[in-house]
Amino acid sequence: MASRSHWGAWFPSLWVHPACVFGVAFLARVALVFYGVFQDRTLHVRYTDIDYQVFTDAARFVTQGRSPYLRATYRYTPLLAWLLTPNVYLSELFGKFLFISCDLLTAFLLYRLLLLKGLEQRQACGYCVFWLLNPLPMAVSSRGNADSIVASLVLMALYLIEKRLIVCASVFYGFAVHMKMYPVTYALPITLHLLPERDNEECHQSGHSFQAHLYAFLKRLCSRAVLSFVAVAGLTFFALSFGFYHKYGWEFVEHTYLYHLTRRDIRHNFSPYFYMLYLTAESKWSFPLGIAAFLPQFILLLAVSFTYYRDLVFCCFLHTYIFVTFNKVCTSQYFLWYLCLLPLVMPLVRMTWQRAVVLLMLWFIGQALWLAPAYVLEFQGKNTFLFIWLAGLFFLFINCSVLIQIISHYEKKPLTKRTKYD
C-alpha cells in the first residue's frame, strides 16, 4: 500500500513527550527574542520588524489617552495597541512574549484538534512539530509580528466548533475577523458545516423543483446552530466596531477595515496581478481589471465551500490558500495564514513524502525566483519589472500545482494507527 511511504508512517518510531517538544519550542523562541535584542543593539540591520515599532508607538499614544492612529502606517485594530500597553509600562519585550505565547497556543490547539480527529498522541505531536520547530513561525513571532494572535483566534474558533460550543466559537470568530479581515471568508464553510443534515423524507417529498430545493435549504439555514453562529459572531464584530468607532471615529474604520479591503498596493509584491495593476493604476481600466482579478478568487472560494464544508479544517485551509494566492496583494506575511492550518491537513493528504518534499522545494524555488529580481530592483535600481511579473506568474502556477496535488490526494479519514500496513 502507498501508505507505507506516507510521511506520517515514521512518527511511531520517534517518541518524545509532547510537553518536551513544547518546552523546546518555547525555549527556542525565547532565545530568538533575546538574540533580537542583541542584534538590534549591535548591528545596523535590525532583527525586530518595523511593524513592532509601529505597534509600540501606537501603544504609547494610547497610554497618553490619545488615538493610536496618530502613528503613521498603524493599520490595525486599536485592540492591538491596547494589548501592547505593557510595552510602555513594563518592558518593550512584552509584546514579543505575547506573540510567542499565542504561537504556542496555536500549536496546542493544533494538537487538540488532531487528537479530536482520532490521531494518536505521538502522531498528533509529530504533525505539531511542523509548526513548533518550524523556523518561519519562530522567526516571525520573535521579530514582533502579530499574526500569531489571529492564528490562535481562528484555531480556537475551529476547535470550539468541533466541540459543538457554537456560541463561544462565534465570539472568537468575531474577534478574529475584527483583527484581520481574511477569516471572513470562513463564514460560508462554517455556515454550511453547521447546517443540519438533509431529511431523507424531505428529499423524496420535495421532488426536483428548484423552488422546493431552495425552500428546503433556507429551512435548514434557520437551524439553531447556524442562527446562533451568525447572530453571536455578527454581534461580537459589530459591538467591537461600533465601540471603537465611537471612541476613535472614522479613522478607525479607514485604517482597520477600508485600507485592507481596498488595498491596491502598486509596489512590488508576490501577487500575479501586481504589474498589471501598477501599469493601469490611473487608467479607466483599473476598476474593471480589479473586478476581473476578484472573480477567480470568488468563484473558487464558492466552489471549495460547497465541496468540502463537511471537513471544516480542510475547507478553511483551501480557502486561505486560494485567497492568498489569487489576492491582488500578497506578501510573505500572508503565508502564515494557511501554514498554521497545514498540520491539520497533513494527516488527510495521502501523499508520499518524496512528492511532498518536491512540492515544498518548488514552493521555495518559486519565492526565490521572485525575490532575486525584486532585490535587484529595490537595492540595485535596475528595471526588472518584467522579470518580477513573470516570477509572480510562475509562483502562481506553482501554488496552483500544490493546491491541485493536495486536492487530488485528499482522503476524508486521517491516516491513523488503525489503518493496516501491508
Binding site: 438533509r198 509596489r267 504589474y275 535600481g381 518584467l386 496552483c400
Partner: protein
C-alpha cells in the same frame, strides 16, 4: 561678492543604489574657520515629490547619533506614489568633518516613491534641488556679512520649538545638481501584461475548479 570674501563650496552626493539612498551634503569653508567655532550650521533641503524621508528612521538614527534631521512639513503619506505626494522640507544639522579643515557634512537617508509608468523610458528622473545653507552665530562676524544673502526663520535647535533668525549663506555648488534615476514600468507592455496575466490566472483557476469537481463531491 567682494574680492576679499572667502568662498564656501557645497557638494551634494548620493550614496548606495536602488530605492534606498543616502544624501550626503559636504560643505567646505575657504578660510576663517576659527571664527566659526561659536556658529551653528543648518541645511534646509527641499525633498521632491519623487522621494520621501521616513521620520521614524530619522528618530532612530538620532538615537544612534548617526545624524540629526527633522522633517518640517507634516501630513505626508510615506506609502503614496509620487504623483499623489507633495514636496517636503527637511532640516539637517551639519557636523564638523574631521577629515579636513573647514569641512562639514550633513547626511540624510532618502527613499524612492513609486512613479507613474512611462511609455518608452524605463527610467524617470528626479532632480534634487540645491539646499539652503543656514548659519547662526552667537557673535557678529564681518565675514558673515560677506556671505549672508537673506534672513531665514528656523528653529534655534532641531529639538526645540523656538524660532531664531538664521542667515542664508551664498555658496558655490560644485558638480551639477543630483539627478536620480528611478526605474518605472513601461506602458508599452500594458496590453501584453494584462492579457497574459488574466489568461494565466483564468487558466490556473479553471484547473483548480476542474480538480475540485473531479476529486471532491459538490453537494448541499
Amino acid at each position: 561678492m567682494k574680492a576679499t570674501c572667502p568662498e564656501i563650496i557645497l557638494r551634494q552626493e548620493v550614496l548606495k543604489d536602488g530605492f534606498h539612498r543616502d544624501l550626503l551634503i559636504k560643505v567646505k569653508f575657504g578660510e576663517s574657520t576659527e571664527d566659526l567655532q561659536s556658529c551653528r550650521l543648518l541645511i534646509k533641503q527641499s525633498i521632491p515629490t519623487g522621494l520621501f524621508v521616513d521620520p521614524y528612521e530619522l528618530a532612530s538614527m538620532q538615537e544612534k547619533n548617526m545624524t540629526e534631521a527633522v522633517v518640517v512639513s507634516d501630513n505626508f503619506n510615506i506609502e503614496a506614489p509620487s504623483y499623489l505626494s507633495k514636496e517636503s522640507e527637511v532640516l539637517i544639522s551639519v557636523r564638523r568633518d574631521a577629515r579636513c579643515t573647514g569641512c562639514f557634512h550633513a547626511f540624510l537617508p532618502v527613499h524612492y516613491r513609486y512613479h507613474r509608468p512611462h511609455s518608452e523610458d524605463a527610467e524617470t528622473l528626479i532632480v534634487v534641488s540645491s539646499p539652503d545653507l543656514l548659519m547662526s552665530c552667537d557673535q557678529e562676524f564681518r565675514v558673515l556679512e560677506c556671505w549672508a544673502q537673506a534672513e531665514v526663520a528656523a528653529p534655534c535647535a532641531l529639538k526645540s520649538q523656538d524660532i531664531c533668525q538664521w542667515s542664508s549663506l551664498q555658496y558655490r555648488l560644485i558638480h551639477k545638481n543630483v539627478i536620480l534615476r528611478v526605474p518605472v514600468g513601461l506602458t508599452v507592455h500594458t496590453s501584453l501584461v494584462c492579457s497574459v496575466t488574466l489568461l494565466v490566472t483564468i487558466l490556473c483557476s479553471t484547473l483548480i475548479l476542474v480538480a475540485v469537481c473531479k476529486y471532491g463531491n459538490v453537494s448541499l
